[in-house]
Amino acid sequence: MNALTGTFDPSTIETPSDSSEPPVIRLNAVTKRFGATTALEQVSLTIRRGEVLGLIGRSGAGKSTLIRCLNGLERPDSGEVEVDGRSIADLGERELQPLRRRIGMIFQHFNLLSAKTAADNIALPLKIEGQKRAARRARVAELLDLVGLADKGDAYPAQLSGGQKQRVGIARALAARPALLLSDEATSALDPETTDSILALLKDINRALDLTILLITHEMGAVRAIADRVAVLDGGRIVEQGPVWQVFATPHSATTRSLLRAFQPSLPEALATRLVPGLGRRSVLKVVVVGDQAREPLLAELALAVGARASLLHGGVDTVQGRAVGALFLELDGRDPTNFAAALEFLRQRASEVEELGHVVDDD
């Protein structure tokens, strides 16, 4: 998979793995309004076969409406929705039903039937499909095994923990062998450890069954853990999308930046409050390094090449999708504009992004 290699070449990542097959889902300029409020505005999004696409946004960003447009529970006011290369706009409720079976769904609050055992919950999509009892039983056993609940088939949801319930939910979503798994905030009601185990299970399923997953969430951590690409939804619009490592390294929209705040180093408050625009003795730069860039002895080379002595104020290097993604806050003497410009030029060649933040004024 491209995303796991160390090379820095966005173009290879944007290419679908198999262009002959239609994407699992294609949204083209989908707009949906509820009265005066616009839930989705010109949303175009493609979900490729076999990928985990993270769709992130705050509550009210339009995530739920987007999901409901995918499985035809909601009709867009304009734009196209294609599932498996087929437009669903003209389909009636009766024609949508078999199509919905191609899309498995898991929910924040699991939505398991309390009156049915785990096994019967998992069997429900198969029952809807019209499978015989014996066939259902065999498939359910297989699925219980897959999600690690082989001994819990006879338990009722009330007897299971949150993580176990979500595993049952996942098994149920996979029962009818869907082309796409929609995960609607599936880990938002779980504690951190359970979240990790559920995300790991989803990733395993994605790899083992080559199942396409749309991971809808407000948690960047979930996206970072298992998604290949991410799309950021804000106010009903997709404000940013790209490979996860790229969005983590160089987020462009304000929404993405704020969603990422907890995951990225930021200038310590003591310095940030004393920051003023323009150059000074203590000019501060934010330098983003990605992949191999993060392994270079950047500061030493900067000193050798342009004779600029930069000190590291703050920063860190993280690994996203197997790539190093780092943000470094450097302090340089900006009193000599020529020298500073040379340093800036050097850094711009060696890093993905360089941002001038201003300079720090001393207290005295």
């Binding site: 919905r100 079976r101 929910f107 609050h109 929609l182």
Partner: protein, 224 residues
């Protein structure tokens, strides 16, 4: 108490049970689908039909608002049409049923409303049709509430059947009024009241126990 009195008491008990069970059965058979119709046709329901919902709702409310004693007399022509007579146990079953159908319809509607809409959404997302949603989600999930509500309906019917004495239906209530009240036989009154209390308690206990056994969600206080 004389043996004729005991026989009379037994006879009355049977009459009460027959009226309650028959009217209860009719209210279940017609009130349950009516309750389902009320929730299904409501806004956001699985078969949204607002106009139909308002009409059915109005009819149910009308049925619920008529005092039973008036209903009892008002439906006499209908009773005669259906069962051929307007007096006796069988005749009393008609007005009792007419009162109990809308009563249980509202109770059933409330039970269906208690079902988490997320479960209906999940069944729809799975590609289930309306029948699947009714048979796999609404009824099984609402079942403990439906049973508890049916118990309440039966208890109410036992009370209402006392008034049915006015059309010569017999029953325990009628016995209490005729002997205990009108003939000042306090002993009969006390015995009838005790029997009624025992009957209601037994019914309530069976209803509660069944609802508890059916509930797997933990809401009714039992371990699934």
């Amino acid at each position: 108490m004389s043996s004729t009195m005991i026989e009379l008491l037994w006879q009355s008990l049977l009459e009460t049970v027959v009226m309650t069970v028959a009217a209860g059965g009719v209210s279940l058979a017609l009130g349950l689908p009516l309750g389902l119709l009320l929730i299904a046709t409501d806004r956001g329901g699985i078969w949204e039909q607002i106009a139909l919902n308002r009409v059915v709702g109005a009819i149910v409310n009308a049925g619920r608002s008529i005092p039973f004693i008036i209903l009892l007399v008002a439906v006499i022509p209908l009773t005669r049409l259906i069962v051929g007579t307007s007096i006796g146990v069988v005749a009393a079953i008609v007005p009792l049923s007419i009162a109990a159908i809308p009563y249980y319809a509202r109770i059933a509607e409330l039970s269906f409303r208690e079902v988490d809409p997320g479960l209906v959404e999940a069944a729809r997302a799975m590609g289930g049709n309306r029948w699947t949603i009714v048979s796999e989600v609404l009824i099984p999930e609402a079942l403990p509430g439906l049973v508890a509500g049916f118990t309440v309906t039966l208890v109410t019917l036992i009370g209402a059947s006392a008034m049915a004495g006015a059309v010569g239906s017999g029953g325990l209530g009628d016995l209490a009024i005729r002997y205990g009240y009108q003939r000042f036989e306090t002993e009969v009154m006390i015995v009838v009241v005790v029997v009624l209390i025992a009957l209601v308690c037994a019914l309530q206990w069976v209803g509660d126990w069944t609802a508890m056994r059916l509930d797997k969600s933990g809401r009714f206080g039992a371990e699934p």
